[in-house]
Amino acid sequence: MKLRPLSFLFAGLLLAGGVHATAAEHIRASHAWIRVLPGDLPAGAYVTLENSGNQPAALTGASSTQYADVMLHRSSSEGGMSHMTMVHSLAVPAHGKAVLAPAGYHLMLMKASRPVKPGNTVRLNLTFSDGSTLATDFIARPANAVDDSH
């Protein structure tokens, strides 16, 4: 099959041309915090996302210079069992919100490049399904912090 680089270029120009605003532009992040665990153990990150746009958005993960690996996870409980599952995206409905909170959706942060201590601020670039990102500052809290964001 013959490749058609021009059509790709055209599609790219359309996307970049501001026909649609990006998902991240309509998202407001609040209550962003990280539960810091000792040593090199993975940490959970939580945030509330509000979408002021007319289109639904989907959080797919995050990137950070502080953590080499970030995954979107969901904890659930059923029949006396706790489950932790990797998920690919979390919908933020148009004019609605999505909450990442303990015992539910969370970002699992792995392989910290340097130790994170309670009180530190860590910037994560939240990634949405359209490729847009939202830089968000997360406050690091101690392991035994009890969620107060809701």
Binding site: R35, L41, P42, G80, M81, A143
Partner: protein, 204 residues
């Protein structure tokens, strides 16, 4: 002033009931709010390595009210949340909490060395003891309390799912299983039932 209703009758009834039961078992009838498992779950029994690297058994915790919880340190969400809640419960119990121990048993002993467990449990509360050991011994302990732990790959995309029992098994000072709590139970109910268990029974 109107006299308060005498609690005498209720006390007598309780006394009679405990005398009736007292002959064969020492578990008193306590008005628990959590799920009462007295007589339905086996007594505390194990031999594992604590987070100081010392071999310990259930006998080492006789005289303490024990909260048994299975988890693992590479669990960034539910395990820390449960331990953080238990820390609040311990704080609410004040000095009484010294009579209690939270035994956090790793279901991931391959990665959870005593040193890692030590750093982990101490980040939550001084009354938490981390226990690890031979995977077969831990598996037997998990089975003893009809608990479970699985870790399975869920898809070709590298995703996976980890499942583990979320229950907290609570034992009295004599090592008898008494109540079962789940993370959805309120802190008030935990504090209430721990008050009952800590306020009674033998003291070391």
């Amino acid at each position: 002033m109107k006299p308060r209703r005498s609690p005498g009758a209720a006390v007598l009834l309780l006394l009679a009931v405990s005398l009736l039961l007292g002959g064969c078992q020492r578990t008193e009838l306590l008005p628990f709010r959590l799920t009462n498992i007295s007589g339905h779950m086996p007594a505390l029994d194990f031999q594992l390595t604590d987070d100081q690297g010392k071999t310990v058994s259930a006998a080492d915790y006789r005289g303490k009210v024990v909260l048994l919880y299975f988890g693992y340190t590479h669990c960034p969400d539910v395990c820390p949340l449960t331990l953080a809640h238990l820390h609040v419960v311990m704080q609410r119990l004040g000095k009484l909490a010294d009579g209690a121990r939270i035994l956090f048993v790793s279901v991931d002993p391959g990665r959870d060395t005593p040193a890692i467990m030590h750093a982990y449990v101490n980040a939550f509360d001084p009354r938490v003891v981390g226990l690890t050991g031979d995977p077969r011994v831990i598996e037997a302990l998990v089975k003893r309390y009809r608990s479970a732990f699985t870790r399975e790959p869920a898809g070709s995309d590298g995703s996976y799912e980890v499942s583990h029992s979320s229950a907290i098994y609570i034992f009295d000072r004599d090592g008898n299983a008494r109540v079962l709590a789940t993370p959805s139970d309120s802190q008030d109910d935990l504090v209430h039932d721990l008050h009952l268990l800590l306020g009674t029974g033998t003291t070391p």
